[in-house]
């Protein structure tokens, strides 16, 4: 389908071991006259740092802003504008030491009070990641180089967030500017050229001559061109109009390879059913474990992967990605395609003749095929699915109301367990509309949040096992998303993000 991906949904998980990982030489000198033309699949919602989105829009942010910390390609947090940091014992106070001598492009100096204001503005802003800073109670500048952040509760994902949109630093003078949303003022490696830029279709950046981290500046000019359909992306690739590009789907992978591009496969999301109503408030049957397990046994995951994703990706039964501490490969064999067993489980649960299940659909995003296939597989074990089709974002209102006991969706898999939990699993998580929980889950979640890293990892594993065995979800597979680059460009993909970070894209020598 020709619709653009939801921003943020594809922000997420593991780096697959498929595909060559080209470790380009970290050249310390920026190539003096090289241009990167990058194909992106969504325009920038805004350039105001406090409202910017990450994920598919991360290149825009990375071009013009610095964030407090930086994540390595494997997700390890490294210094950037913050040079050092530490938590207190309770993990509720984060003290950060900030770099000196950094100036924004309008001459304003960067310091801790600027950082504090940026953080507070982001928290109150309208980025779709504004909730990243939900646990932040306050941010205070103790000295020009010392920033103290107080948290309401421990947040194991907090530092990760500070390496993304939440940690972006914008010049305070720009906040009041009426052009703030289209002309950014940051301290980052590039400057937006407003005259050459056509908002919504082509953004032009030139190298910031005064950038403080020159090793990360690899091009003298970057052009980000927006493509709205897979066909136009392919046309641009075949026509030699881009050096590297984000893609919509796998339908044109073979053609892209034929054009001489390298495909960097990523698995950032999981596709499958979220069986929200685990307590049976809306759908009695779904409240029963055996019913949910039966649903897990009803799907031929391998066939679905082939039909819905052309075989690109890998089957899974768990919502934790492979590079998450919570992942356990043996769990993938917990369920298999066994409609007979499923029917038996249903009978044991008291539904020998099946039941009716209402679910929302959004055929404009996922296509009619997907829903037809799901309906067919469930019909085989006696469950009749009735869809109601929605347009655009009205489906979220319906899902989150909650209006339906279950739904099909493609959701992000964050490698940081707490990030995943905040999105899917905690009682207040956005995608836990029935606020389901029980004492076991609550226990694991608590350890994940407050425990040491070892304990937290173990708790994540245990939680994962529990979720699979109790069939909170019925995942089908992790679809592959691809980032592609030509032979003149070397790329290091980013764990959990659809687009590699800009400083990890370099011209090949």
């Amino acid at each position: 389908m020709f619709r653009r991906k939801w921003p943020g949904v594809a922000a997420g998980a593991a780096l697959a071991l498929l595909g060559p990982l080209v470790l380009g030489a970290c050249s310390s000198s920026s190539s003096s006259s090289s241009t990167l033309t990058l194909g992106v699949i969504t325009p920038a919602t805004t350039f105001e740092a406090t409202d910017m989105n990450w994920g598919n829009e991360s290149p825009y942010n990375e071009a013009v802003y610095d964030s407090l910390v930086q994540a390595s390609p494997t997700g390890v947090i490294e210094p950037h504008l913050a040079t050092a940091w530490s938590y207190n014992a309770a993990k509720t106070v984060l003290t950060m030491t900030l770099r000196t001598g950094v100036k924004f492009t309008d001459g304003t100096p960067f310091n801790a009070s600027v950082a504090a204001e940026n953080l507070e503005a982001f928290q109150k802003g309208t980025s779709n990641n504004a909730s990243d800073l939900a646990y932040m109670a306050s941010a205070t500048a103790v000295s020009p180089t010392k920033l103290v952040i107080r948290l309401k509760q421990p947040d194991p994902a907090f530092l990760t967030y500070l390496g993304e949109a939440a940690g972006s630093q914008e010049s305070p003078k720009a906040w009041k500017s009426p052009t703030a949303s289209t002309v950014p003022v940051g301290s980052g490696p590039y400057l937006l050229d407003p005259k050459a830029t056509v908002v919504g279709s082509s953004y032009v950046f030139t190298a910031n001559p005064n950038y403080w981290d020159k090793p990360e500046q690899h091009y003298s000019k970057i052009v980000m061109t927006v493509y709205t359909t897979p066909t136009t992306v392919l046309d641009a690739i075949e026509g030699g109009q881009v050096n590297a590009a984000n893609t919509f789907d796998d339908t044109t992978i073979p053609q892209i390879k034929d054009a001489g591009f390298t495909v960097y496969p990523l698995q950032l999301n999981w596709a499958g059913l979220s069986l929200f109503d685990r307590n049976g408030k809306m759908s009695g049957p779904l409240g029963k474990v055996k019913v949910r397990q039966a649903i897990n046994d009803a799907f031929d995951r391998a066939a679905l992967l082939k039909d819905m994703s052309d075989g690109y990706g890998s089957v899974t039964t768990q919502v934790f990605p492979t590079n998450s501490p919570g992942y356990e490969s043996s769990l993938n064999s917990y369920y298999s395609f066994d409609p007979a067993k499923a029917r038996q489980l249903l009978a044991e649960a008291g539904y020998p003749h099946g039941f009716t299940l209402a679910m929302p659909s959004i055929t404009s995003a996922f296509g009619e095929t997907t829903y037809a296939l799901i309906q067919a597989e469930l019909a085989q074990i006696g469950i009749k699915v009735n869809y109601t089709d929605y347009q655009g974002s009205t489906i979220f209102t319906a899902i989150l109301a909650p209006k339906y006991p279950a739904t099909y969706f493609t959701l992000e898999e964050d490698p940081v367990p707490w990030q995943l939990a905040q999105f899917l699993l905690t009682p207040t998580a956005t995608f836990n509309p029935f606020h389901s929980t029980d004492s076991t889950v609550a226990g694991y979640l608590n350890t994940m949040q407050t425990g040491s890293s070892a304990h937290a990892a173990a708790a994540a594993k245990a939680l994962n096992r529990y979720l699979v065995q109790n069939a909170w979800f019925a995942p089908f597979f992790r679809p592959q998303s691809s980032f592609v680059a030509d032979s003149h460009t070397s790329v290091r993909v980013q764990a959990g993000n659809a687009v590699p970070y800009l400083w990890n894209i370099e011209p090949k020598p």
């Binding site: 389908m1 020709f2 619709r3 897979p230 066909t231 392919l234 339908t251 044109t252 073979p254 053609q255 031929d300 066939a303 679905l304 039909d307 052309d310 055929t363 404009s364 296509g367 009619e368 095929t369 037809a372 296939l373 309906q375 067919a376 597989e377 089709d389 347009q391 655009g392």
Partner: protein
């Protein structure tokens, strides 16, 4: 069809002539091979859609996990699509939805458009002005943008979208019907019918609906095609209703899988294109038949001259009454023309135009040739005014046109020669003929209004040939033109010079044409019934003008007419034509004094004289 095809729909240029409608249009349409072929294709497609269950055993919506993207072959006539659905089944059932949707849009547009057109055309006043306002509004909206917006509000249902699209296309029918109704309303016979008590509804039904029947069908077929195109376009953009099979959805699925299975796009594309082509051809054929049957016969009726008629026209010496035969009146043996001799007192001026044994005809499709002028010989001497007189269809205008070599399409000079000052015009090249026209031979047409280019001023039409033929500058040409306009009796030459033909009266226009004819100082002026189309008082003025010009400029005039009064007024010599032949010729006085040919006598007898129209009323005798 393209969205741009909307143009044809909104510019209803179809003839709404009642004659056209009544002339067995359906039967004539059936003789048009392309139209029949197109109609058959359309009927076939509709039948296939209706009988879909008989033509395929597959359900178009059944998804099959294991069989996606299979090529044509075992079990699946055209293969399967991206969800394992049978392509042939989707094509057939898709035809139902696609065609039904387009039909819905067409019906909505037609019903609303026709009724509002009828009401507005017949009752006029405020309804008409508000309707025309709404029409302009609807026509200003770009269809696809409106449909996208409507869809965002109302959801992707095919039926909703098609209804809204139908509303957008109301102007197509409204304008057509309104034009027809307001045209007919002004016809006198409608008033007559009203006076005799026929109800409005009956008038509308009988007269108006008959007229617009065929154009409505024409519009409907075009609108139908556009509705399909718009549907397909929306589906292609991904905005269609995904749950039902339509050709547009199939195209979309095909494009999504373009690289995995390229042949998937072919079938729905073919379906759309074939339907579109069939609709276009059907509409074209219908329009051709309408226009043909409506066109009044413009060409002057060419009379066929048969041998019997030739014999009848030839006068044998035995039929000539003895009293009028003198030794000095020979009968030309071949043509049978009666020639009156000149009075020997007049000096013979040199011969300017000498036509000898001219035959003009129109080759027919079946190989025969219809002769309109046969064995005609004519002499025009310098300085004289020669009248060529006869009834309509006698071939006199055809003769005149032959001299100019400006016969209508299909006409040819079959035999004979036309010599101007000794030079045979029938053998001269086109470029030379062009030089001769206007410069040596000039033409004054019959109907002034239709003989002036409506898009150019009188002045420009006067000066353009002058600049070409005389090589004068623009200012010089204008000066001459103004002088000429004054000479032909136009009171304000400047104003006429700047006027367009439709701003002048018939008389003024004819004077301008005369001015044009003499502008390049021709030797011979051929005047084709120059006064027939004018009011009686103006006729006299024009004749005076011609006489004056002839005296002043010394031009030779060959005047074609059916009016003896004109002949008596102007002509020195006369030739009488009947059925393509000259039956009598000679000095005007001689012929007036002594018409010898029976036909000439009939013509004279037909002139109204002083005798009573009828005798006194006689009482019927009782037995």
């Amino acid at each position: 069809m393209t969205e741009i095809a909307a143009t044809a729909v909104l510019a209803p240029d179809v003839t709404t002539d009642e004659r056209a409608a009544r002339s067995h249009l359906a039967r004539r349409f059936l003789t048009n091979p392309l139209g029949i072929a197109a109609l058959s294709v359309l009927v076939l497609i509709v039948l296939a859609a209706i009988f879909a269950p008989l033509l395929t055993s597959y359900d178009p919506n059944t998804v099959s996990v294991l069989h996606i993207l299979q090529g044509p072959g075992a079990g699946h006539l055209l293969g399967t699509d991206g969800a394992g659905r049978d392509v042939w089944a989707r094509l057939l059932y898709g035809a139902r939805y696609t065609l039904a949707g387009a039909l819905l849009a067409t019906v909505v547009a037609a019903v609303l458009g026709i009724t509002s057109g009828l009401v507005a055309g017949y009752y006029g006043k405020w309804f008409e002005s508000s309707a025309s306002w709404v029409t302009t509004l609807l026509m200003a909206l770009p269809g696809i943008v409106v449909l996208l917006a409507a869809r965002a509000v109302l959801g992707p249902s095919l039926w909703t979208v098609m209804i809204i699209f139908g509303v957008l296309l109301i102007p197509a029918f409204y304008r057509l019907v309104y034009a027809a109704v307001s045209g007919v309303r002004n016809e006198l016979f409608v008033d007559a019918a009203r006076v005799s008590g026929v109800s409005d509804r009956r008038i509308i039904a009988r007269h108006i609906l008959t007229v617009v029947r065929a154009p409505i069908i024409l519009q409907a077929s075009i609108v139908f095609g556009i509705a399909i195109a718009v549907q397909v376009g929306l589906d292609f953009l991904g905005f269609g209703d995904q749950a039902i099979p339509t050709w547009g959805n199939m195209l979309n699925d095909g494009f999504t899988n373009l690289y995995r299975d390229p042949q998937l796009v072919v079938w729905p594309a073919l379906a759309v294109v074939i339907t579109g082509v069939a609709l276009t051809l059907f509409a074209n054929a219908l329009r051709d038949e309408l226009e043909q049957s409506a066109r009044p016969r413009r060409r002057r009726r060419a009379t066929t001259v048969t041998p019997a008629e030739v014999a009848a026209a030839t006068v044998t010496p035995a039929e000539v009454t003895p009293a009028t035969v003198t030794a000095a009146d020979p009968v030309r043996p071949e043509s049978g023309t009666i020639v009156h001799e000149e009075p020997s007192s007049t000096a013979q001026a040199p011969l300017l135009l000498h036509i000898e044994d001219l035959a003009v005809g129109y080759p027919q499709a079946d190989g025969s040739v219809t002769r309109v002028v046969d064995n005609v010989s004519l002499d025009v001497r310098r300085g004289e005014v020669h009248g060529l007189i006869g009834e309509s269809g006698s071939g006199k205008t055809q003769t005149a046109w032959s001299v100019l070599r400006l016969l209508p399409a299909g006409g040819e000079i079959l035999e004979g020669s036309i010599c101007l000052d000794g030079e045979d015009l029938s053998t001269v090249s086109s470029a030379q003929m062009r030089d001769i026209r206007g410069g040596r031979i000039a033409y004054i047409p019959q109907e002034p209004m239709s003989n002036l280019d409506p898009s150019f001023t009188i002045g420009s039409q006067l000066t353009e040939p002058m600049r070409v033929k005389l090589g004068v500058s623009k200012t010089e040409a204008k000066a001459r033109a103004l002088k000429l306009l004054g000479q032909v009796g136009i009171p304000s030459p400047e104003r006429t010079f700047a006027s367009y033909p439709h701003e002048l009266s018939g008389g003024m226009a004819q004077r301008a044409l005369i001015a044009g004819a003499v502008s390049c100082e021709p030797d011979l002026v051929i005047a084709d019934e120059p006064t027939t189309a004018l009011d009686v008082t103006i006729q006299a003025e024009i004749l005076d003008l011609l006489r004056e010009l002839q005296r002043e400029l010394g031009v030779t005039i060959l005047i074609v007419t059916h009016n003896f009064g004109v002949v008596a007024d102007l002509c020195d010599r006369v030739s009488v034509m009947q059925k393509g032949r000259i039956v009598e010729t000679g000095p005007a006085r001689a012929i007036f004094a002594d018409p010898r040919h029976p036909y000439t006598r009939t013509l004279f007898d037909a002139i109204l004289d002083e005798s009573q129209a009828r005798g006194p009323y006689a009482e019927s005798r009782s037995a």
